[in-house]
Each structure stands twice: as C-alpha cells, then as structure tokens.
C-alpha cells in the first residue's frame, strides 16, 4: 500500500497529478484498509457468544422472619437451542393449536416460523438481554434478574 502512495506522491511532484487528484487517490487507497480494520475490530474485541442464561431470584418475606430465599438457575444456551428445536417435532396440527392458544393469550408468536437461522439470531440477541424486576411490598421484597453470560 505504501508503494502506491509513494507513486501518487511522485506523480504529484512531477506535476502529472493535481493536489486534489492525489488526495482523492490516496483516500481511495486508504479506504479499504480502514474498512477492513473496522470490520475486524468489533468481532475480535467484541463480546463472546453467551454460554448461559442465568435467573437469580432474591426474595425476603418480612412477615415470617424466615430470612431471605435465594434462587440461582444457570441454563446452558445449548439447551435452549435444543429445546427450541423440539418445535420442529411438533406435528403441524398441534403447532397450529399452540399458535392459536398463544394468540388468544395475546402472544403473537408463530412457532412454525422458528427456523435454525432465526433461532441463532434470537440466541445472539439474548446476549444483550437483562431483565430486572424489583418488587417491594410492605411485607415482601422480591428481586428477579435474568441475564446471559
């Protein structure tokens, strides 16, 4: 790349190119390299794929004075993938019924649309998922946290 740059500068010094043309040519040469480096950047320095889905629940019942209860669940993402693949095994008629039941409950999900590509995309997006629920009543305090790691 430096060789091209040197040639352009030499042509500029020889008067074969104007300053504007030289600038445009240099920027044209540099563009692909910057694009490549920026492409590599986020992937190499970016987040790893999540391996686990974690659910943590901390609850405290003030009335009973029994102390806090802590629940910690760690589910491998691989299990989620395999679980969703079970949807392929559901017969079409049953799938239709399941879709209908979910629509009735206000969940607009079409299980027949879950394909391997969509599934991978879904799991990828889960890496950014963090759900925090804090509930504070007079007697109880519940904190639920769902995230991927």
């Amino acid at each position: 790349m430096n060789e091209h740059r040197r040639q352009i500068l030499q042509m500029l010094s020889e008067g074969k190119l104007s300053a504007d043309e030289a600038e445009r040519l240099i920027s044209a040469i540099e563009e692909p390299s910057t694009t490549k480096s920026s492409d590599i950047g986020p992937k190499s320095g970016g987040k790893d794929r999540p391996k686990y889905l974690r659910v943590q629940v901390d609850s405290e019942d003030g009335d009973r004075h029994e102390g806090p209860t802590k629940v910690n669940v760690r589910v491998p993402m691989q299990l989620l993938r395999a679980g969703v693949k079970l949807a392929y095994l559901i017969p079409a008629a049953a799938l239709q019924k399941a879709n209908l039941a979910m629509h009735e409950k206000g969940i607009p999900v079409d299980l027949s649309q879950i394909k391997p590509d969509n599934l991978e995309e879904l799991v990828e997006q889960l890496s950014d998922l963090v759900v925090d629920v804090d509930q504070k009543d007079a007697n109880t305090k519940v904190k639920v946290r769902v995230f991927c790691e």
Binding site: E66, K70, V71, N72, R74, Q78, R81, A82, L89, P91
Partner: protein, 86 residues
C-alpha cells in the same frame, strides 16, 4: 458430551451439608437396553404422530448433550438445595 454425573447438595438447619453424587452414566447404561427394546414402539408412535424418528432422536441427543453444566441453587436460612449436572 452427555452428562456423566449429577451432584445434589442438601443443607439442613444445622448447616450440615449432604452431597450426593449420582452417576448418570449408570442410568444411561440402564436406559439403553430399555430404549432398544422399546424402539419399535417408539418408531410406530413417531409414525402415527407424523414425526421423523431420526430427527426426534437427534433432538433428544442434543438435549442430553446440552444438559451438561445446568445448575440450580435454592438457598434459604433454614435449608438449601443445589443441583448441578456435570
């Protein structure tokens, strides 16, 4: 890799912890002949339900493999339960 061991830890009020190692590999070995014996019936059931038996087997295998590293802990002042699949 399918899970080979499950560890169940139980803690009681006196903070005594009982740890139980369950060799899942023995369970798989016991289930294997049973599965082979039942395979014709499972095959027929799959055909009746219009499910590809090979696909079903593949998904089942994937689920078994994915169970490794599953962990569940429940801690309370009076007792605690921990379940870990290795």
């Amino acid at each position: 890799m399918i899970p080979f061991v499950a560890v169940v830890s139980l803690r009681n009020q006196e903070s005594r912890t009982f740890r139980l190692w369950i060799p899942l590999v023995l369970i798989w070995l016991l289930l294997l002949p049973l599965g082979i014996l039942l395979s014709p019936f499972i095959f027929i059931a799959c055909l009746v339900c219009r499910v590809n038996p090979l696909r079903g087997l593949a998904v089942l295998w994937q689920i078994l493999n994915a169970l490794t590293d599953t962990q569940l802990d429940v801690e309370h002042r009076t007792a605690g339960v921990s379940f870990h699949i290795l």
